[in-house]
Amino acid sequence: MENLNSYLIVSAILFSIGTIGVLTRKNAIVIFMCIELMLNAVNLTFVALSRHLGNLDGQIFVFFVMTVAAAEAAVGLALMIAFYNNKESIDVEDINIMKW
């Protein structure tokens, strides 16, 4: 595991891609997928670091993250459905009744 940096760089790139996706995409589902991408980038970091440091804390953390991500996905999708029920769209351009 000499090349920790490459893992870190990959995960950083993944994280950035996720971030940029959140910033640029207009579909709520896609945005949520980008967020998942960010979380998984973090997971990759954790695992790489865990391996590098030789302790398991990072990997346990990853389990937590994955669990939480699942819960988030459930809640998130439910919210999107509720929204879709009322507005018939999940385009974030349409999510702006409240502003100013």
């Binding site: 870190l8 994280f15 996720g18 971030t19 959140v22 709520a28 945005i31 949520f32 967020i35 960010m38 979380l39 980038a41 973090v42 970091t45 954790f46 670091l49 590098h52 440091l53 302790n55 804390d57 990072g58 346990i60 953390f61 937590f64 993250v65 939480v68 819960a71 988030e72 809640v75 998130g76 439910a78 919210l79 999107m80 509720a82 929204f83 029920n85 009322n86 507005k87 974030v92 999510i95 702006n96 009744i97 409240m98 502003k99």
Partner: protein, 485 residues
């Protein structure tokens, strides 16, 4: 065959959490058997549960007890915050019933969700491991996303939930990344260990991974406490969420955010204080100013209070920036008094409001002062407290926070803080202007005050005034609470 030895775990520190979780799950089950018109009973049960949890929490005051190999602790700091969470939850439950009935969404799931949120918050305050804190944060957040969007039929509520969810998850990403980097830099997620390792570094601020981790964590929590520039979700979510949930969100989760922040930064990263202090100085100024100035022009009172809550986060950040005992104690005291005054104000808003979130503007308060004198006096007390005018808890809290800045030598921060306070007076007074100095525009239809709301108002007024006049006791508790971290 090897036996898996289960290590002896002391469950006492998380007894309240366990109790509330079990209660919440039980309520979910009970809910099935309760007819739709009578969901209030769930509320009553959960309120009793919250009070009981309060007793459990209160019993833990004293010497710290660690558990789960040091990833959770029961100390005074956690206890103080837990009381705040329970208070906010209790008050939120009290004010929910009437509102939810009116809006036709008194679903039984509401109360378990509130309780889950509390459990999450408690974990955040009690967690001494990044993992526990993260776990708590997510338990809290996921429940909150639902609560924000709880009024399914209402588009605004949907939007609030969705916005909160997307942005919240987004910020979670940063927070997690920060935690990962911190883990990478120190090799542990246990706060005490991080502190030890960082303490051994010769120049911790030269460790880019650590610094970046710290900053990313800071941004993650800054989102939760609604600090600029991570505050933009606040007005929309507060406006859209059901009013009792707005009240709850503005008090509890904000306090939880501060609890985690204080724990991580003061315990794990005191050696980096120069760095984060600087940053928080800027964030505090930005947050106060943006919050207050934007609030000046709001007509929707929920939105106005949302901006005001941003501003209050800014005041609390002043104490955080100071990073000394006075500042930390100030934050504790402030969060407690903010819970009372803000939820109290939202209770009044609920009483003024009408079905479909109608009557939600400042103008709708016109003439309240003489139609409902008691209610108006209560609202005035909350507003004066929010504006930081003695003799209210809000004033003492601000005094403490600004004092910490002065003590630290951040005079200008204190000056900017008080100028902000002065500006904020305008929009708080505006409500009072309508209440007392304008005639009601139309016939004032009055919704009955139900006992739960009356109780919540009573508690809030007492909680706002009494610490304002004799703050000693609570301040001493706060001082004790922060002594240990």
């Amino acid at each position: 065959m090897d036996m898996i030895t289960i290590p002896a775990v002391n469950m006492t520190p998380i007894l309240p959490e366990i109790f509330l979780s079990v209660l919440a799950m039980a309520l979910l089950l009970i809910n099935v058997f309760i007819p739709s018109g009578q969901k209030s009973y769930l509320g009553y049960i959960s309120f009793v549960g919250v009070v009981a949890a309060g007793v459990l929490v209160g019993a833990g005051w004293g010497a710290p007890v660690e558990s789960f190999s040091g990833s959770v602790v029961q100390d005074n700091f956690a206890t103080f915050f837990k009381i705040i969470f329970l208070l906010s939850a209790g008050l939120a439950i009290l004010i929910s019933d009437q509102y939810m009935e009116r809006e036709g969404c008194n679903h039984g799931e509401l109360y378990p969700l509130i309780l889950f949120t509390v459990v999450g918050m408690m974990l955040m305050a009690a967690g001494t491991d990044l993992m526990t804190i993260f776990l708590g944060l997510e338990v809290m957040s996921v429940a909150l996303y639902v609560l924000a969007g709880f009024n399914r039929a209402n588009l605004k509520s949907n939007e609030a939930g969705l916005k909160y969810f997307l942005l919240g998850s987004f910020s979670t990403g940063f927070l997690l990344y920060g935690m990962a980097l911190t883990y990478g830099a120190t090799g542990t997620t246990r706060i005490a260990k991080i502190a030890a390792i960082v303490g051994q570094m010769t120049v911790p601020s030269a460790n880019i991974m650590l610094v970046a981790g710290m900053l990313l964590m800071l941004t993650g929590f800054a989102f939760k406490v609604a600090a600029a520039p991570f505050h933009m979700w606040t007005p929309d979510v507060y406006e859209g969420a059901p009013t009792p949930m707005t009240a709850f969100m503005s008090a509890g989760p904000k306090a939880a955010g501060f609890a985690a922040l204080l724990r991580i930064f003061l315990v794990a990263l005191p050696t980096l204080q120069v760095e984060w202090s600087q940053l928080l100085w800027v964030l505090a100024v930005l947050t106060m100013t943006v919050g207050n100035i934007t609030a000046l022009r709001q007509d929707n009172i929920k939105r106005m209070l949302a901006y005001s809550s941003i501003a209050h986060a800014g005041y609390a950040l002043v104490g955080f920036a100071a990073g000394n005992g006075t500042g930390a104690a100030g934050i504790l005291f402030y969060m407690l008094s903010y819970t009372f005054m803000n939820i109290g104000a939202f209770a009044v808003i609920i009483l003024i409001g009408k079905k479909g979130e109608a009557n939600g503007t400042v103008m709708d308060f016109a003439g309240l002062g003489f139609k409902q004198p008691a209610l108006a006096v209560a609202m005035s007390v909350f507003l004066f407290s929010l504006a930081g005018i003695p003799p209210t808890a809000g004033f003492i809290g601000k005094f403490y926070l600004f004092s910490s800045a002065v003590q630290k030598g951040y005079i200008w921060l204190a000056v900017i803080g008080v100028l902000n306070s002065a500006a904020s007076v305008y929009y708080y007074l505006r409500v009072m202007v309508y209440m007392y100095m304008k005639e009601p525009t139309e016939d004032f239809e009055w919704t009955r005050i139900t006992p739960p709301i009356a109780l919540s108002l009573l508690i809030s007024v007492a909680g706002t005034l009494i610490p304002g006049i004799v703050p000693s006791v609570i301040l001493q508790f706060a001082e004790q609470a922060v002594k240990l971290i």
